[in-house]
Symmetry: C2
DNA sequence: GTATCGCTCAATACACTGTATCGCGACGAG
DNA sequence: CTCGTCGCGATACAGTGTATTGAGCGATAC
């Protein structure tokens, strides 16, 4: 059939490298790439290349790129240690919160994925289970909805706080260095804004704030949330707030 | 010079449509697109097309696509009403929180951008200023760092909660409808996981939870945070938590 | 009035993305 | 030995953000 001589065709690379693949290999490769250069570095081509494979090869293990991202998230959740089953709820939740923050520091890209879509991987589920388990059964949390509300609040705070923290860190290191330099770097615009006098408190923040390290802001915020939960769910004490928030979730009429 | 006859060249579209452009026009067009089909619909080509312009035209008003996204975020911040200057801090912060949540409902794409990078647009700054202003000067918050810690915690919660809520809503409506259906839809895998018995609390959530509407989860969480702040910063009362979180941010040794 | 400069915008171009399709090549069954 | 099947690689396509180029026009200088 072929009129061309064998010599014309380049020798097929014998067995190019039928590297055996697996989801595990793929996601660890992807994670390594992401750790190095952010999520932009995670393209199917690059991940495949890192495994000496063609891009299409991955589709045997994955149906879409989003699935790969989901796997990455779940893998990182697997790195986070769960608290011992019997741990007191406050310290258990604190431990989980710190675990997530630490993981996000190791894998900054995590925050871009963190609540972007529900996490249903086995490790994620284990985490949710552990979090809920810290409160479930306690008499102060009579229904599962109370548990859900409390844990949800903690997780919402953690996600938001970590995301903000990493975002700020990224912005910092991408356009200057310390915040003192930043204050001069992003200055022209910022100086002008502050000079209008319309942002007095903000100005105080920029000039007077100690810029306490981020970890202690995180801890403070976390303790606010935990305190709030504890106060609401300690028999016989309702805090002095004037707001009319209900003391526990209940089917409210306001629809969504 | 030209050997070709006039007839060869198509008549230049007279004045194709030198539509006057402006940042305002561009971002509102982009927002309209995003509202309709999510952030994927916001490409420079599509935005430009919506304005009868070539893609490159936009680069006269914008230096990068990220800048456009920043402008969009700031525009939405502009939609959110600020509380009256004198408002009591709890209700002021509550109002801001609800404002952000409402905005995210109107513009679901907002959550994909919300803490992804620091927001420094004028409207964002006004919001930050207003939030900080609710606490600044109060004797219970002696330093600006206390104010920052409290407001930061509230904002972290709001961002995280809204993001989670929208993400869940998206997942729901993308693969089924109500959560009852979902429980059967995403079932195969979920059922199997729950059947392992390793997630007892999670199972309770899936089967027993009332699935109180999202708004009241949000309110509950928010009141936890506000309660926590109020309790810490009400003279002479420290809640019964056993955790060792400091009562106020301070330069801690733990570095980042 | 004419020539030249400069500026604005559109077209083209490039490198890259995620993914559908196709066809070759090896392997197992008969 | 032959044939079907299947896994995998190459190719293809539509789309992305952005750099570069070039054409057209208005205003300015003589």
């Amino acid at each position: 059939m072929s009129n061309e001589l064998v010599w014309d065709r380049p020798e097929p690379p014998s067995k190019p490298s039928p590297t055996p693949l697996s989801r595990e290999l793929i996601v660890t490769a992807a994670i390594r790439l992401a750790d190095g250069g952010g999520l932009d570095e995670v393209s199917l081509r690059k991940v495949a290349a890192a495994l000496n494979a063609g891009p299409m090869r991955l589709y045997g293990y994955i149906e879409t790129k989003d699935e790969l991202l989901d796997l990455m998230v779940d893998e990182v959740y697997g790195e986070i240690a769960l608290p011992e089953p019997g741990t007191e709820w406050r310290s258990a939740l604190t431990q989980i919160a710190h675990g997530i923050r630490a993981a996000a520091k190791r894998h900054p890209w995590l925050v871009d994925l963190l609540g972007g879509r529900p996490h249903r991987g086995p490790n994620s589920l284990a985490h949710i289970e552990a979090s809920l388990g810290t409160l479930d059964g306690k008499p102060e949390f009579p229904t599962i909805d109370h548990v859900l509300g409390a844990v949800g609040a903690v997780m919402a705070f953690v996600h938001g706080a970590v995301r903000n923290e990493i975002a700020e860190a990224r912005a910092e290191q991408s356009s200057g260095m310390t915040e003192e330099q930043w204050q001069a770097a992003s200055g022209p615009y910022m100086q002008r804004m502050l000079a209008t006098g319309k942002f007095p408190t903000l100005a105080k923040v920029m000039y007077d704030a100690e810029h306490t390290n981020a970890a202690s802001y995180f801890d403070t915020g976390l303790s606010y949330v935990l305190d709030g939960i504890a106060t609401r769910h300690t028999p016989g004490s309702t805090p002095g707030g004037s707001a009319s928030a209900p003391s526990a979730p209940s089917a409210a009429p306001a629809g969504r």
